[in-house]
Symmetry: C2
Subunit: 298 residues, 2 copies
């Protein structure tokens, strides 16, 4: 199964299965707008932790009726983050969302060895793009969390993303391990890591996906480009997910698709006990909402 | 002065100033089509080195009248490359173009310490994009030649690109040294190199441009994104050139703009005694032609 548009995610929603969305430091207008919209779609039940006074003020301004929301007053952002994490650990929350708190403090709570939400050895960012120039949704990882992952870290980054794809109905997502060239070159670790991941997948060291690499970005997403290069691959030209070598490659791709590619995306942090929504002010309304919808499907 | 479209390059052409375009191993249909078009525009005079019999055969098929072309018969591609380089060193050629010869052999001739065309300490690739989502042409470097440049290599990569921009009328091109984040972070060499290049430009160690970095790709090309982050910069939101950290970042950006960005580009290898046109089969006709036009302006 393949999804062509971000809106196709909505079709996967089940009726009357609201997930409990726990927002840490919820006194943020942009975040509350997205929560309001997701609540109106009956996707989530909001659990808003933060400065209740400010939350109510903003809610009034944006016509967000809080009658279905649970509110907990913890004005300090770090404390709000720890309370959010604690709630989830007690089984009282299904999705974590970042509000008006820095990335560093909320990650402190999430990664806390005793009280946190650790599951995998690392968290990673997965984005799902709808591009006017590609025939289906295109995943990209990791564009934000891991600076220079080694082979084993890349394995977990792939697994985190594959968990997401499996949850939205892809039984065997096609993963392209992308490098600047499609030949193995000892001087380019992106190519050797890509080749090793491909073999690890063949040996079932990485499950529930098909990996091929090294592939150039062009070969990964264009059958024509792959054919010109004589590449025979089950992934080439039809990738569901691109694994980027490091944060420099991932981030520049993410931003070029968003800013110079006419694309929109939903994005999650994966690898914790629950999906983690971390949107930024620059994200479009649709992007924020679809990130919550995506989280609710995991 | 700023150019908005690749076609604006044509306006910079001077009348009756044909450059001598030396093609090594010219028996390539795609290359000869671009040469034919550039010749018809009176931009260049072709010097075609290679297998004359095959060149004439292809020329017949694509309606390329060879009456203005100089033909030299050297069927061996490596030999043709060396002859091309020799001609240029004798002052009988202004632009080098790669035909049906591998990148490795032609670079062998270009980089030959005695007979080659070395000028700067390294060659680098500069591409000039026309994107439907940006308000002017956008340069990107280096996406193809240098795998993991250090600080001094990045300095030369910038200088090579700045030479190109200066030649097409930009007296002070705005250069964004792009990283995943806009803060200096010792764990991310892309950010420290970017900061150092910025200061080197302030100290006039790099001339004829304005460098700012580290900038995220978003801050570099979007004023709005820069404002949200509170970045005060003469380059942010209005970059003419993006310096990418390494080949993984550069190549994925180059290909995403070409394949998923609706963009077109002209591209050159800079740093040798003459501009070097190296197109690939996958490039569009316009891209190949505009690369020759660009080379003729250097």
């Amino acid at each position: 199964m393949e999804l062509k548009k971000l809106n196709d995610l909505k079709k996967l929603l089940k009726k009357d299965q609201r997930k409990r969305l726990v927002v840490a430091a919820a006194q943020d207008r942009h975040v509350l707008e997205a929560v309001r919209d997701a609540e109106a779609m009956k996707v989530i039940q909001p659990v808003l932790i933060g400065d209740i006074e400010k939350i109510k003020l903003i809610a009034g301004e944006i016509d967000f009726d809080l009658k279905n929301a649970l509110l907990l007053n913890h004005p300090d952002p770090l404390e709000a983050s720890y309370v959010a994490v604690e709630l989830i650990n007690k089984g009282e929350g299904d999705i974590l969302m970042k509000g008006l708190v820095g990335t560093a403090p909320i990650l402190k709570a999430v990664l806390d060895k005793e009280k946190g939400l650790r599951k995998k050895a690392l968290l990673s960012h997965v984005s799902l793009f709808e591009s006017p120039y590609y025939h289906k949704l295109l995943g990209v990882t990791d564009v934000a969390m891991n600076i220079a992952p080694g082979l084993n870290e890349k394995k977990i980054i792939v697994e985190n993303a594959v968990e997401l794809f499996n949850a939205i109905g892809y039984t065997l997502p096609k993963v392209a391990a992308v490098a600047a060239v499609e030949l193995v070159n000892d001087a380019m670790p992106a190519t050797t890591d890509a080749a090793l991941l491909t073999l690890m997948c063949k040996r079932k060291q990485i499950l529930h996906c098909i990996i091929d690499g090294p592939l150039g970005f062009d070969n990964a997403i264009s059958k024509e480009a792959a054919t010109i290069k004589g590449i025979d691959s089950p992934v080439a030209g039809d990738a569901d997910l691109l694994l980027c070598h490091d944060i420099n490659a991932g981030n520049i791709l993410y931003k070029s698709l968003n800013f110079l590619g006419g694309a929109e995306c939903a994005a999650l942090i994966m690898g914790a006990k629950v999906p983690f929504v971390l949107t930024s002010r620059a994200d479009s309304e649709k992007s924020k909402l679809m990130s919550i919808v995506l989280a609710s499907l995991i």
